[in-house]
Symmetry: C2
Subunit: 139 residues, 2 copies
């Protein structure tokens, strides 16, 4: 298979597949004309990676997951641990975004959004610190 075929099969752009070769995820053969030749197993791996990335796993996680996938003697506990840590990261990220969203939605509602310059959004940005605490500017 050429790179285009495996790109279609795995759903990954050819550029990304070349990048994945660079970082050692796949090691396709080469034909005489220099083209990469992918085996079934390469296509399989790339699809695995595509799915793992789509679930938000980092490249490093993917490396570990791939190693476990190929290790017949793995303990599922190791996989579960990686997934668990990722789940925690996702939860933290969601919490962060939800908080941002709440603050922002509040400001958005309070803003008239007309031709006048008065704006609670700018007022917030100008008078609060990173964590939303009111800054003292009386000095």
């Amino acid at each position: 298979m050429n790179i285009g075929d495996v790109a279609t099969l795995s759903g990954l752009p050819a550029k990304t597949i070349r990048y994945y070769e660079d970082i050692g995820f796949v090691k396709p053969l080469r034909s005489q004309n220099g083209y990469r030749i992918f085996r079934e197993s390469d296509a399989h791996k790339l699809a695995f990676l595509g799915r793992a990335r789509a679930l938000g796993f980092s490249i490093e996680d993917c490396r570990n997951l791939l190693a476990l996938y190929e290790d017949e003697r793995r303990a599922s506990a190791e996989v579960k641990d990686i997934a668990g840590q990722h789940l925690k990261r996702i939860d933290r990220k969601i919490a962060e975004l939800v908080e941002m969203r709440a603050t922002l939605a509040h400001l958005f509602e309070a803003c008239a959004g007309d031709h006048r310059p008065d704006c609670p959004i700018l007022a917030d940005l100008a008078t609060k610190g990173p964590d939303g605490e009111v800054l003292d500017r009386t000095g």
Copy 2:
């Protein structure tokens, strides 16, 4: 004020403040020894940026918000529009993460997490495409 003072005031690392100077957010004066000298207004701006970044606005958004902030004749509608677009981006991101989380949590629950190799998480990664559709590997 030296950079350390304004770092303390704004809550931003000195490194970040230098970076913000690089990209044109602030233009501190220089004293004879080469040290940056920040005015009140610079500290003010940097705090504004810190808060905007904490609310997830991009650097480009910050540039626009800062311009509006400094424009006495702004229409709040412009600010509201920027905030509204950002709100939409946040909502999309949250939706994406929530979906990831659901899939992952499901797999996490299904995995025994013991010494055995059988693992629904790996099985999912191996048999599904980026969007979770089952791949045909009968060929």
